[in-house]
């Protein structure tokens, strides 16, 4: 298995010199591409390395670096090695490139990312909402979106009980047991 991965890494770096290839700690191979090369790289992997299956497209929000990272997860049925193709995009006014022509199911993932992160895809003009309905605030999966504040503002909160007491102290008061030492830091005064 590890032998296979070494071979794959070697041949990948030979054939795709524009990408950096490395073996991941937890299995699989990681490939960093640039936005311009992405479609070519994916098509090449699909045609010549047997990566015929697109498992998922996921998006990571690197707020500190002001970037989005798309991760294309591919699977090879013969070698059974997972491949992660990563590409960094600008967070503000950036856009991804649609790969609907390679894998039709990419459409769903792209729509989801466009809806949840506000990252449009060139070539995927499918504007329909996927999960949300009539959403008009910041895309909710962005890290700077404060879901708690939003829900406080948008939805009614049921007020808590007036006599809100700590469960442990009530029980210990009733049964006369000591609160164990380990629980004291978590007990409300």
């Amino acid at each position: 298995m590890s032998d296979n991965i070494q071979n794959l890494q070697k041949s990948l770096s030979e054939r795709l010199p524009q990408c950096s290839v490395k073996i991941r700690k937890h299995g699989g191979v990681e490939l960093n591409s640039s936005k311009e090369n992405l479609v070519g790289v994916l098509a090449h992997l699909r045609e010549h390395f047997g990566y015929r299956h697109l498992s998922h497209i996921s998006c990571v929000d690197w707020l500190e670096q002001n970037q989005f990272e798309l991760v294309y997860i591919l699977w090879n049925y013969e070698s059974r090695i997972q491949l992660f193709v990563k590409v960094r995009l600008a967070r503000e006014n950036g856009s991804g490139i649609s790969i609907r022509h390679l894998w039709p199911q990419a459409d769903t993932y792209e729509r989801e990312i466009a809806e949840m992160y506000g990252l449009p895809f060139d070539g995927n003009e499918n504007p329909r909402e996927l999960i949300l309905e009539d959403w008009d605030a910041m895309p909710p999966m962005r890290r700077d979106f404060d879901t708690r504040a939003y829900s406080k503002e948008a939805f009614y909160d049921r007020p808590g009980r007036e006599d809100a007491k700590d469960v442990r102290s009530v029980i210990s008061g009733r049964s006369g047991e000591e609160i164990p030492e380990i629980a004291i830091p978590y007990t409300r005064k």
């Binding site: 309905e133 009539d134 829900s151 009614y156 049921r158």
Partner: protein, 182 residues
């Protein structure tokens, strides 16, 4: 004479009330994860049909709307529409802590937290999720309320329609359905 009239009326009312509380058609519309507790309630182990509780597939024929758990805003719109299509008298059972105070989705951006702000709830069943025993005990509570004539959420809904609509329209931004659905 008048006394007599009154008596016959109450007897008819008694019969109606008895039939209403012993024949509860439940709309088989699962909204949240609690819906998974409904099949065991209905089938061999807990057998809710003993109490005259049976599932119905359309809102027109149903008496009880089970809100089985969290409601996303998207589902809420459909649920309101469904509720308004049911025929009076109709009852709502809120199922699980999500309907009471948000439960584990209390800070989610897309689920409502307090169901009775948006539609009248006759009985709440707490638990996350409630077991079939508690579901049945909730139904029995509803039967007691009907017997006492207190399960009148549908009347409150008609009387306070404006208040409910304001609340509903606050979360449902695109209200592209008729204002009066039933």
């Amino acid at each position: 004479m008048e006394m007599n009239d009154k008596d016959t009326l109450t007897i008819v009312e008694h019969i109606k009330n008895f039939a209403r509380r012993h024949s509860l058609f439940v709309l088989a519309y699962g909204t949240g994860c609690g819906a998974i507790e409904v099949p065991p309630t209905m089938t061999s182990r807990y057998d809710a049909e003993r109490f005259g509780i049976v599932g119905r597939a359309t809102p027109r024929q149903a008496d009880v709307l089970l809100i089985t758990g969290y409601l996303s805003v998207k589902t809420l719109k459909r649920v309101i529409r469904t509720y308004e299509q049911m025929q009076n008298p109709k009852y709502v059972i809120g199922f699980g802590s999500c309907t009471i105070n948000g439960g584990m989705y209390w800070d989610s951006y897309n689920t409502i937290k307090v169901l009775d702000q948006y539609m009248p709830v006759d009985v709440y069943i707490n638990g996350c999720m409630p077991r079939p025993e508690s579901v049945i005990s909730g139904f029995i509570k509803l039967q007691q309320l009907i017997k006492a004539g207190k399960a009148d959420g549908w009347k409150k809904y008609q009387e306070n329609l404006d208040w409910y609509r304001t609340n509903q329209k606050k979360v449902i931004k695109n209200w592209n359905m008729p204002d009066y659905n039933w």
